[in-house]
């Protein structure tokens, strides 16, 4: 298979040179969560890597993935998830990039059978000329009634030169489903920053506190919550 180009939707915003250099990629990691099982995984991408993971979640099973995507010139986390009856998938993703970093989280979540639930929360903080992308497709099969799926995607731009791409996408063939998606790209509230500074926080600390609040909720309940927050804070400290 040839290396992807910008014409491939899933690679449209990628660092194509970095992808070509890494091509061909090894086969995706393959995870099967058996019926009734629980799976939890924490991924800290801090060196510039492409992670491709296929996850099949069996009947009534759960999987929770927490991702901190912060390192290297190009970091990509690609998840291909299939949910069986009554299964549950949770993704909490944070991307923090500065300089010319390109960071992306790409997901395809397929509700193959009824009554499965999925929740994806992704927060990106981008400075410099960094590019942060979330492409998330939720596909609901014809018989996957009572699917409940949520995508919440927000990005914070610290500089006008940074870029955020967000594309939550739904492909629904069942007729009794609940699929919510929300998406927002913004800047830090200048009045909030002034308020914090007027109480004594330096501009950098005020920004850091607001950004911490922006990303912290994503890791709530994560297996390695403290480590994730600490690593995120350290990276934020480098950007403000």
């Amino acid at each position: 298979m040839p290396a992807p180009t910008r014409h491939d939707e899933a690679w449209r915003y990628s660092d194509i040179a970095a992808v070509a250099a890494a091509w061909p990629l090894p086969a995706p990691e393959n995870i099967i969560v058996p019926a009734g099982g629980h799976y939890a995984r924490t991924i800290v991408q801090d060196s510039g890597a492409i992670h491709q993971i296929d996850i099949a979640i069996g009947k009534g099973a759960t999987a929770a993935i927490h991702v901190l995507n912060i390192g290297g010139e190009y970091g990509r986390i690609e998840l291909n998830v299939t949910l069986h009856e009554g299964a549950d998938f949770k993704l909490g993703g944070v991307q923090i990039g500065g300089n010319a970093q390109t960071l992306e989280i790409i997901t395809t979540v397929t509700h193959a059978e009824p009554k499965a639930t999925s929740s994806q929360i992704v927060r990106s903080v981008l400075a410099g000329t960094a590019i942060g992308t979330y492409l998330g497709k939720v596909a609901v099969a014809r018989n996957a009634q009572l699917t409940d799926s949520v995508q919440s995607v927000k990005a914070m731009l610290l500089d006008r030169s940074a870029t955020a791409n967000a594309k939550p996408e739904l492909e629904i063939y069942a007729d009794d489903v609940k699929c919510a998606h929300g998406c927002a790209i913004g800047e830090l509230d200048p009045m909030g920053l002034f308020y914090l500074q007027a109480r004594g926080l330096s501009p950098a600390d005020a920004k850091k506190l607001m950004l911490q609040a922006f990303v912290a909720g994503v890791f709530e309940g994560a297996e390695h919550e403290e480590m994730l927050i600490e690593a995120a804070l350290q990276k934020l400290g480098e950007l403000v």
């Binding site: 308020y195 914090l196 500074q197 007027a198 109480r199 330096s202 506190l209 607001m210 609040a213 909720g217």
Partner: protein, 247 residues
Amino acid sequence: MLQITNLHANVGDKPILKGLTLSLNAGEIHAIMGPNGAGKSTLGYVLSGRPGYEVTEGEVTFNGQNLLDLEPHERAAAGLFLGFQYPVEIPGVSNVQFLREALNAQRKNRGEAPLSGAEFLKVAREQATALGMDMEMLKRPVNVGFSGGEKKRNEMVQMGIIDPALAILDETDSGLDIDALRIVGDGINRIMRKPDKAVLLITHYQRLLDYVKPDFVHVLADGRITRSGGPELALELERDGYKELAA
């Protein structure tokens, strides 16, 4: 303590303050009253260093220091506190966390040791209790979901914790019912009515001044102090309105 001399300031391209001169000594409470659009809030923002409020002429010294040279957080560390007319909501940031960081940043700036979590909570609990605020509220995100009155009360709790030398209180009385007004008034007296402190109360109405007795009252109109007097001036304003006096 605070000396404002011939202060001119723009917001955007628009001149708002046009030669304001005012002097506050330690131990004094001054009230600034005036009609809408006179520049009252602008004065508070200029003194605390809000971006976008540009001083074009004049000077301000605070305890001998050139205040206008300092960043907002340095002004806070120097002892200046602005009570906001519209306290800002900051989702996700808890009051307690933010106040402890703010207080310790100020202490660090002054070369003092930081307060431990336990020491800080003790101070916070005292202030919250004195102002009739539930400690649980203090753990919630800053001002999020607070009523107008609760936000103003929270400003006073913050002032009590930070314990500034100079408080500029911008319409702290707006949005308060009678009971809350008394609690807030008592709070201002308790925290700030001291020989080494001063207060600049910015208000539209006489009613706060029933609880916090000013030593001096000034009328601000069209960017300048047009009249100054004792507490009786506030009563006169309440009776005759600003029009008479601004002329």
